[in-house]
Amino acid sequence: MSIPASKSKRTVTFDCDVITMAHGSGGKAMKDLIDAIFVEQFDNDELAKLEDQARISIADLSKIGDRLAFTTDSYVVYPLFFAGGDIGKLAVAGTVNDLAVGGATPLYLTCSLILEEGLAVADLRRVIVSMAQTARACGVSIVTGDTKVVERGSADKMFINTAGVGVIKSGTAISAAAARVGDVILVNGSIGDHGAAIVASRGDLAIESDIESDCRPLSDLISNMLAVCPDIRSMRDATRGGIATVLNEFASASKLCFKLDERSVPLKSEVRGICEILGLDPFYLANEGKIVVVAPASSAQTLLQCMRAHPDGRDAAIIGEVLPAPESMVIVKTIFGGEKILDMLVGDQLPRIC
């Protein structure tokens, strides 16, 4: 099913140090850029054809499942390179995860770039290499794309948009509204790592820390999970707004109460340190490699063990349960036994986090 790797390796020399307006004009400069960097790195026959569109056999897709999953995301993270990842890895992982959490097998991605005049080619190359590596690691191909260059000051170095398609197996029915009373809530590891890593990487708050972003594709973990627990009810990746946002989405859609036990939510001590110093709430901090899962209680232990056996789920934990009331609310039992409501985030904890 995967697009075979390109058989003829063309080496196109590309000597420019910085991106100029010419690289977005549609002329020779742009063609050289595309050949030397994008086609070279993304390395697949379909892209190498450089038609205006990628063409994918419907018959082939129908062999995998009965629905097309289709998603898009834009990435504007600052800084471009941060501990544990970069904008490229983020773009591929983020879009792959958006497909995988719906139960889809992610297959093909687009890569549309908006580059700022003056961007260092070395940085662009580094991002594209990272995208290629991440795509290869989870078996997806980047089959079509676009490049635009805007004047200096009209964009901040680089913005990426990706669209992704995948196929959902017949019978899979994961949705935000599917939770039932008695279900359990799980996460695949510690929360807030990405947000904390970005804060530390930004340098303007002068925080030194070893914390790394958890940015990664989770399609492999999720496929293992669905194999042992095909009746997972709801699943979403918790990006901007943290797990609090996903939980509120689930609670609103299902009209049930999602109750967490604060003590069982995994949290790295360094992330806690950053939150205590800056007054941030880890429930609202961004993640880029964490999913919130709702599953029937009967499958809880099997699912947990399956997650913990996978490198992307070592610290997985059951963090709460679904109750009938109060309707559409997320409640946290604090370490004291008191209860508080975890509402939707108002305002912006940290801008341009992903």
Binding site: E270, G273, E276, I277
Partner: protein
Amino acid sequence: MCLGIPGQIVEITDPLRNLAKVDVSGVKREINIACIVDQDHPVEKCVGDWVLIHVGFAMGRIDEGEARRTMELLNELGEAQKEMEAMQETQSKL
């Protein structure tokens, strides 16, 4: 605004400007320690001290002895409460 967090001084980075590196749960930041430096506690001797950090300044030293005393008091209060509960229980059984 009252957000103060305890941290441990791990290094003096600029003695003339009273700057030190503090560790909070593995996260480090440079802070100003002018408020906790005095004749009994010159800058160089501050490494290892636990301080309360607030907006980039160490605003007070955390006294280990007092912290222990507070903890003991909390324990005692808990013990006193247990005794009261035990007394009440025996009372109600009578």
